[in-house]
């Protein structure tokens, strides 16, 4: 089975993240880049499906040069090879444009199953799986907490507020996963060494057959017009326990309508 896992590099949520003043896009240079957390689950699921059904796992990343660190990490976990869509003209692309660009690459490289995290920790639009499935004309199996493949049928448990739905579709398909699905592995030291020798193909817009007019900040369908820092936290209320601490706490919570 030809499994493609989409991996996005995002700023580490443990570090301070900001937008750049110049064009209101994410300032990727000022924070450490890491693999989007949910994509680690996608990689793990891709590797498990390969271990169970055979085939190959390809990592697909769209992002600037420094995203190659995340590609290496994914390869060191055990993926076989990677495709890196990297082109300055992609800077500032919104979710709709990104889905176009990635769909073009997926059409070019082919796939039986495209796996991705259900959202990214930076933009959090959560629409990529749906948009990709639409553009590629294949079923979307979203928010999967469990996956089974039986011949050309994919069955998933899709998490919902009330429990889960059972959903099935046929290959090729787009599959988005949630963190309940597995426990991502650590790379092994041998895996880190082996990753250095695995092929990473770099594609430009032209290589991937992407129309430059349809991507990039200028043509984005949505614009970030303004942004502001989150207001600094105000000093909290200190409840001093002078025998009546419990009652005072309850009063405070009631006043804020928490109870």
């Amino acid at each position: 089975m030809n499994i493609v896992v989409l991996v996005k590099q995002v700023p580490d949520t443990a570090t301070e993240r900001k937008l750049s003043a110049a064009d209101s896009t994410l300032d990727r240079a000022s924070a450490d880049g890491v693999i989007n957390e949910l994509d680690e689950y996608a990689i793990e699921e891709g590797l498990r499906l390969k271990e169970a059904h055979g085939g190959e796992v390809t990592i697909l990343t769209m992002g600037p040069d420094q995203a190659s660190d995340s590609i290496r990490k994914a390869l060191s976990m055990g993926a076989d090879k990677a495709v890196h869509l990297v082109d300055d003209a992609l800077h500032g692309s919104d979710a709709v444009q990104t889905s176009y660009a990635l769909a073009q690459v997926l059409k070019k490289i082919g796939f039986d199953l495209a796996v991705l995290g259900s959202e990214s920790t930076d933009a959090r639009t959560g629409v990529l799986a749906a948009a990709l499935a639409e553009r590629l004309g294949v079923p979307q199996l979203s928010l999967a907490s469990k996956v089974e493949i039986d011949g050309s049928t994919v069955r998933i448990q899709r998490i919902t507020d009330y429990g889960y739905d059972r959903v099935e579709g046929s290959l090729p398909a787009v599959l988005s996963v949630v963190e309940k699905i597995n426990e991502p592995r650590y790379p092994s030291f041998k895996g880190i060494m082996a990753a250095k020798k695995k092929p990473v193909e770099k594609l430009s817009l032209a290589d991937a057959g992407i129309d430059p007019a349809l991507v990039g900040l200028a043509g984005a369908t949505t614009q970030v017009v303004d942004f502001a820092d989150a207001p600094p936290r105000e000093a909290g209320t200190v409840v001093k326990d002078e025998g009546d601490g419990g009652a005072k706490l309850a009063e405070f919570l009631a006043a804020k309508k928490f109870v």
């Binding site: 592995r185 650590y186 790379p187 092994s188 030291f189 041998k190």
Partner: protein, 384 residues
């Protein structure tokens, strides 16, 4: 403290990053609870095995990672900074692999070594006995000839991973009762070992997550092909393994001391008395300065010993010095960390008191620090 002395290769840097990631993700969050409950973290060792951290200093052709001691010991230090008992477990496991790696026949290595170095197996090193601790050459567990092989009978004491190990690297007497170091042989015993029973773990002042057990051996069968090295060669093998093992204890000591130092520095920077952080008092900052200096000196000493070993030169004296100095440093620095935290240092709400209890064992295992001085003295002045 993010001290990063130069590493020999970029892959060593990546190995340490991986170790730090696993330490922060898998070791640190579990350590306090597992120590309080005395729960052996078998699954954590499997994670380390899958990541390839259980056979680092052995050749790649045998399933290891071919790393020099300078790198392997830095990995141990990193693990110990997150959880001493796990780092010591890795050090003991690495020790158990030495006899087969250095003295096994091609056939024996083929059969056993791959899984020990590159897999998830965990070993135990059974040398000490109730009546033979510092004087290991006095051990009395006997491997008597039986058919083509041996039947081993006796008792072992203080065996780390006793009862949970996947195999035992065990030393027993094949010579006469007075044969001392010349009459001991080394055996490889894959578990379950018929006739071997582990007693309930000792109740220790620290490292409760790591089982330390007496073993009773009752006519345990061992084929001739389970003897590692020649008959009578066992004691020399055990001592050579311990030279390397002592470096492991030194690195673990530095990791533990580093954790205590970091905790003390953090606390001193935030705890306010007399209107200032206590770190602003020279009485505290000089204490921290001495702690930090000792940690770095101990690291420098084990790395110098490791470079000597990696160069293929004799390093018995340096290994004993590194173990002695680093474990004494761990004891001092953890004790001082408790002092810096004041009353809280003495409570189980902070790890300082646990670090202090854990440090003590480092002055005892793999040769007490008196024995290290004996080794150093002998190297200086010749055997008495």
């Amino acid at each position: 403290m993010g001290v990063r002395p130069l590493l020999p290769t970029s892959e060593a840097g990546e190995l340490l990053e991986l170790t730090a990631e696993i330490g922060a993700g898998e070791l640190a969050p579990r350590a306090a609870a597992a120590e309080a409950e005395g729960a052996f973290p078998r699954e954590v060792f499997r994670t380390l095995g899958r990541a390839g951290l259980l056979g680092l200093p052995y050749p790649e052709q045998h399933g290891g990672a071919g790393q020099p001691y300078t790198v392997y010991l830095r990995v141990l230090e990193e693990l110990a900074a997150h959880w001493l008992a796990v780092a010591l477990g890795v050090s003991v496991h690495t020790l158990t692999c030495y006899p087969l790696a250095a003295h096994g026949t091609p056939d024996q290595r083929e059969r056993w070594l791959g899984e020990m170095l590159g897999g998830e197996l965990l070993g135990a090193y059974a040398l000490s006995e109730p009546q033979a601790g510092s004087d290991a050459a006095a051990l009395s567990t006997r491997a008597a000839p039986e058919g083509e092989g041996y039947a081993i009978t006796g008792a072992k004491a203080w065996i780390t991973h006793g009862g949970v190990a996947d195999y035992y690297t065990l030393f027993a007497r094949t010579g006469g009762p007075d044969s001392r170091g010349r009459g001991i042989s080394c055996f490889h015993l894959p578990a379950p070992v018929p006739g071997l029973t582990a007693a309930a773990p000792e109740r220790k002042m620290g490292m409760s997550s790591s089982p330390t057990c007496q073993l009773a051996l009752e006519a345990v069968p061992a084929g001739a092909d389970q003897r590692v090295g020649a008959e009578g060669e066992g004691f020399a093998i055990a001592m050579a393994a311990l030279d390397a093992g002592r470096l492991g204890i030194a690195a673990c000591s530095v990791g533990l001391a580093r954790a205590a130092l970091d905790l003390a520095v953090d606390y001193a920077g935030t705890r306010t008395q007399f209107g200032r952080p206590v770190a602003a008092f020279q009485g505290v900052s000089f204490l921290l300065a001495d702690m930090a200096t000792q940690v770095e000196a101990a690291r420098a000493l084990y790395l110098e010993a490791a470079r000597t070993k990696d160069a293929g030169l004799p390093y018995t004296r340096q290994a004993a010095m590194a173990k002695l100095f680093a474990s004494d440093t761990a004891m001092r620095v953890t004790t001082d960390a408790v002092q810096v935290l004041g009353g809280y240092g003495y409570t189980a709400d902070f790890p300082a008191e646990r670090y202090m209890r854990e440090a003590k064992v480092l002055q005892i295992v793999e040769g007490t620090n008196q024995i290290q001085r004996l080794v150093i003295g002998r190297e200086l002045c010749g055997a008495p």
